[in-house]
Symmetry: C2
Subunit: 198 residues, 2 copies
């Protein structure tokens, strides 16, 4: 039995965060109450604001509080390159790891008819329309290398083909620091087949 | 570069939680925005409410939104037993692990003159006053077995002695499931010295 119902409520609510179980939620609640009330207040405000105001960009479908996200609105970026990713996290990963200066299109999912994710849910009509505008010269397909991601990639390639836009796919292969001995067969087969001239 | 300033703000604010670094904060923010906006809204409300309303119980100093916490207000609990702990988390741990039905007193710290934690900061005047009331027959000292915790325990024992109240201390010894081989010398010495007749 907790000494405070509000505290018990807070501990329960913290569990909506991924990877946070009962013990961690408890530790988090006590920590902010004991040591960082200002931080907790700020978090509460920003969480409420984000949930209320962040929707999706009307052009690339990523998270954005404006109709057009900061990336789409940025004129300095190359409009001839369009990189298609499954989620905003994937977009952020590419943005942080590579020097890519083109635009993005976020599917917010992957092709998965059983989960009700079809071409319409992935916004492919919006994408087709974008390709038809004629500005995009290369469609970089960066869906995940899973069965569903590959099926999605296949459909995207067809879409690019129909619009006479060149389609490319992220290279599969041995990850940096990986050892051949421990790499799964599929990856190794891909890496072998896609070997490059030195 | 993130596509949304509000999202970047949220990620930064999430880092006030213990054990949450840049990557985890990112994952949390994307998770709630994609999959659990209702949970996030609830968390924001409860966090704000908890920070604003939770203070300390005037009797035992634990976290409470009322002047008297639920435990102190509970007449069914044994008023002759008083367990002293360092923090509300320790109180909760004892409450969840043991069948203890007495009351608590929370120091909100431990004796540590260098950090400005003296008898006054630990509320020892409040505790002395409570012991003087005559209801308490046993003071159970459950401070941590650290140098500072032991010093605190020593002072608490003196306080109890002055009020002619019996003082006891949690037993130190081999933890359940522990192996003698891997236990530190101090603990083993304690366990040996405090051996019990079978």
């Amino acid at each position: 039995m907790s000494s405070s119902p509000l505290l018990a409520d807070l501990i329960e609510a913290l569990r909506c965060l991924p990877g946070v179980g009962a013990k961690t939620a408890q530790r988090m609640a006590f920590h902010v109450l004991e040591r960082d009330r200002a931080g907790a207040r700020r978090l509460a405000e920003r969480l409420a604001l984000a949930v209320e105001r962040i929707g999706n960009c009307t052009r690339c479908r990523t998270f954005s509080e404006d109709a057009l996200c900061a990336l789409c609105a940025n004129d300095a970026r190359d409009r001839s390159l369009l990189c298609v990713v499954e989620t905003p996290v994937d977009q952020l990963a590419i943005e942080q790891a590579t020097g890519y200066r083109g635009h993005y299109f976020v599917l917010l999912g992957r092709l998965s008819p059983l989960d009700g994710m079809g071409p319409k849910e992935l916004g492919l009509d919006l994408l087709a329309q974008r390709l038809a505008e004629g500005e995009v010269h290369e469609l970089i397909i960066a869906t995940n290398p899973t069965v569903e991601g590959e099926a999605t990639a296949h459909m995207l390639a067809q879409l690019a083909h129909a619009a006479s836009v060149r389609a490319s796919r992220l290279a599969h292969g041995v990850p940096l620091g990986g050892e051949l001995e421990f790499i799964d067969r599929g990856t190794l087969a891909h890496a072998f087949g896609g070997r490059q001239t030195l």
